[in-house]
């Protein structure tokens, strides 16, 4: 080959799509990688570094020793594990029967159960926690009634019980939804062939149905554990401080950034989260999700016998009442003037809303700004990573995905502490304020924390697009850039939108990193505002009012986006089916 020709080859090579990558793709990957390193990897490593080193930088385990010598910290450690485990257990008790009813019986509760699945998710547990005290506390509505009628009280909200109860009530849908999907995906042929070979009843359920649905259950259970472990606000609102997240937060904010105990607590939290994820993965490994074969049908549903119907509907109504109680509670609280030692508030008022509209509209704006930035960045980064992963052979693309997804295992408090420590000497150019008290850092924390959701959504939607869709565009004259703009992104639009909404809404109710990073009340988003109000008895009314407003907005947002995504999916489904 002549020199001129080989130069031409060199120049032309990066333009070819298949099996290669272009310089601009590499640059994009590098930029995203850098962002992830600066705002995820380095802060987390900093936390770990501080936990394991003396002030002179030498390796030490003494911080861990002193951590476990403190009675409070030992208790916090055990309490966190206990609360996590018990929340998973209680969530399972709520969710298992519901999932089983929908999969196995013909009955009209399906819509109710779907509602049960979504309602708790649009309201973070800390918002309803105060109201739950009023409803289920020692002198709350329920116990007042129980005392009057049966002369007994149930300690729903005593100490750690309160956290477990509230968390389980909010997070059991993770188990319910995952398990329902898994059960619905079991081919009836699986069950029928077992029956054909002589299995029936509970034995059939134990040996065939449950193992096939296990991955769904484990995924849900791991999520519940992570969520509970991560949550710092709910315990604080409920006045429970002897758990890890709360201790990490309190040590850093009250004793200071140099106190190593907070870092040790952080490292333990990260380790526990990773362990939970790893454990779930281990159980799932090698076990394929049961999937419906082409032309297969889901498990046969039976008619409910009368006693079964009573039990099923009874259970649904009970869970529904419990699920609705925080919503109902903050609604009541938001309209109440005084509410204590009574079943229902005694005086109703609109003052709380007036207070909120007078004092905190800027919080709504802050939330919109931070979450808008975060969700926007998330879908851009998510789309980019999805594209690099699925459509190029760029070295390191898997690592990018791994790091971005890894954010799931980092509790918000830990990320917040990492930011404070890593960027503590950095100031914002021109503005002259420290970076750690600049509002943008909150948006960046949201971006990192919600990236896994947006990324999964983007990856899933790109996976649905057959690569020939893009090849056809190139064949007709569109280069890489034009193909992405005209074909890939429009076809991914549903998934991108879903990713944006999920990121936005979940960021809007985020408090664990927010609580670490808000340095001035004027920078506070709604979630922090609610928390602040809830700190004082007098603030509970306005806090509930703000909560009602936030939950309403989140609910409407969820509903609208759900409708949009569904409309798009229906439109494309017919064609996808051809493949």
């Amino acid at each position: 080959m002549q020199p001129a020709a080989s130069t031409a080859t060199l120049l032309a090579t990066p333009r070819i799509l298949s099996g290669r990558f272009t310089l601009s793709q590499a640059a994009l990957a590098l930029a995203i990688g850098l962002l992830l390193v600066i705002f995820l990897v380095v802060p987390v490593l900093t936390v770990i570094y501080v936990a394991f080193t003396n002030s002179d930088g030498s390796l030490t385990f003494s911080h861990f020793q002193s951590f476990f010598q403190l009675t409070l910290m030992r208790e916090a450690f055990y309490n966190s594990l206990y609360v996590g485990a018990m929340s998973v257990l209680l969530s399972s008790i709520f969710a298992l029967p519901l999932a089983y009813f929908t999969a196995r019986f013909q009955f009209r509760g399906a819509l109710l159960i779907q509602t049960l699945g979504v309602l708790p998710l649009i309201m973070p547990p800390f918002v309803g926690a105060a109201a739950m005290q009023l409803l289920f506390g020692r002198s709350g509505s329920v116990n007042l009634l129980l005392l009057a009628w049966f002369d007994l009280t149930i300690p729903f909200m005593e100490g750690l019980n309160a956290v477990i109860f509230v968390e389980a009530l909010h997070y059991f849908p993770f188990i319910l939804l995952n398990l329902t999907v898994a059960l619905n995906n079991i081919d009836s042929a699986m069950e029928e062939s077992a029956q054909n070979l002589g299995a029936s009843g509970l034995r059939l359920f134990r040996r065939i149905v449950f193992p096939l649905a296990m991955p769904g259950y484990m995924a849900g259970a791991a999520l519940v554990f992570l969520k509970v472990f991560d949550d710092v606000a709910t315990p604080l609102v409920l006045n429970v401080t002897d758990i890890l997240a709360a201790q990490a937060y309190l040590r850093i904010t009250s004793i200071g950034l140099d106190d190593p105990i907070g870092y040790v607590a952080s490292v333990i939290m990260v380790a526990a989260s990773l362990l939970a994820l790893w454990g779930a993965n281990r159980v799932l490994r090698g076990k394929e999700y049961a999937t419906l074969q082409r032309g297969g049908s889901p498990l046969a549903t039976r008619r409910l016998k009368p006693w079964q119907a009573v039990f099923a509907y009874g259970w649904i109504v009970l869970v529904l009442l419990l699920v609705l109680s925080p919503h109902f509670g903050i609604l009541l609280l938001s309209f109440s003037k005084i509410w204590s030692y009574s079943v229902l508030p005694e005086t109703f008022t609109l003052d709380n809303y007036a207070t909120v509209f007078r004092e905190s509209p800027y919080m709504l704006w802050n939330t919109a700004l931070y979450c808008g930035i975060a969700a926007g960045l998330d879908v851009v980064i998510g789309t980019a990573i999805a594209y690099l992963m699925l459509r190029t052979k760029l070295p390191g693309r898997g690592l990018l995905d791994f790091i971005a997804t890894g954010a799931v295992a980092i509790p918000g408090v830990v990320l917040g502490i990492g930011y404070l420590r890593t960027f503590r000497d950095l100031s914002v150019p021109f503005a002259g304020v420290p970076f750690t008290s600049f509002w943008l850092i909150i948006a960046l924390a949201y971006t990192v924390r919600r990236l896994p959701y947006a990324l999964r959504s983007c990856v899933a939607s790109l996976q649905q697009i057959h690569v020939s869709m893009e090849e056809a565009a190139q064949n007709l004259g569109a280069n890489n850039r034009r193909t992405i703009a005209r074909i890939v992104v429009p076809l991914m639009a549903g998934g991108i939108l879903a990713g944006f909404v999920t990121s936005f809404l979940t960021a809007a109710v985020e408090l664990s990193s927010t609580i670490m990073l808000v340095s001035a009340t004027s920078d506070a988003p709604v979630s922090y505002g609610i928390y602040l109000y809830m700190q004082s008895i007098a603030g509970r009314g306005p806090g509930a009012a703000l909560g009602v407003i936030a939950v309403t907005l989140v609910g409407v947002g969820t509903y609208v986006s759900h409708r949009i995504v569904r409309a798009r999916n229906v439109r494309f489904d017919a064609l996808q089916a051809l493949k």
């Binding site: 070819i16 190139q474 439109r571 051809l578």
Partner: protein, 360 residues
Amino acid sequence: MARVKVEFRNIALSYGRTQVLRDIDLIVEPGEFFALLGPSGSGKSTLLRVLAGFSRPQAGQVLVDGVDIGDTPPWERNVGMVFQNYALWPHLSVERNVAFGLEERRVPADEVKRRVAGALALVGLSEFAGRRPNQLSGGQQQRVALARTIVIEPRVLLLDEPLSNLDAKLRHHMRREILALQRKLGVTTIFVTHDQEEALTMSDRIAVMDQGVIQQVGTPTELYDRPVNRFVADFVGTINFVRGRIEHRAADHVRFHAGGFGAIELPVALVPDGEDECEISFRPHMVEIAAAGAPLLPGYQWLEGSIVSGEFSGEFVRYVVAVGEHEIIVDRPRATGASLFRPGDPVLTGIPFNQIRVLV
């Protein structure tokens, strides 16, 4: 449309250790309807993707109209490809799908409109312009894919198993339609298929591929009548093979002998010199069957055998006849009222001398 020649020179391509294409040399003449025929995994689709620019060979050149396009990206090649799954974009209407290539070429809007209308008229879908692809039937989607490709007036038209997603009846109809369209446009067309009947009925010439190698290139009748090797003979149509050896060579004939099969005398012209180990082949529908004792036609080698099985399929009956240690497939046309042979019936099998081919 311009008629251009396509040349593949020494193309080699492998994915890791798997060699997908080996030393492919092929010329497709201007205006030809050319088929790449082979089983799945034979490399035929990959060869098409090499031409379209979606697969990059490790060695060799692709020339279109005498110009090496190896370094040209797919979007500048102007070789229109119709994908097996049509790859119609669900977010664009039929009209916008067809307009895509013209828009990418910065064709003025009014001309886009005119040419899109023309292309849709050509495939008979004018009234479906505003629909979404998923509102069309499989056959209609196929036509949109065709219109979307030919509207840009590509130098070469590539069809990747375009009929495999259609039901049998529609497939026959679309065969004729695609061929008529190609004749009308005169565009050099390369067509990938695993269906030998499709290749035989539609193509000017066919390249039979197996394991990344072109086994034979020729017109449909050449491939059918004179397959160069066992693979081609077997893949194109149904055929009987009998392995044996040349026992005796005379001036005008040779004697072929296979175990339990008896001897067959063949015209010397059929048999290559030298090699004695060989295989004879003949098509099932040329073989006659006669009941024992029936009058025998001349020009056939008649061998005694017995019926193993018979399958009635409408137009003909396919018998398997045991002749010595060989099983011979025999297809006989079905005449109304004729009685069928039963398994075990002794028969005489007549193999016509002039239909025998010898493969070394």
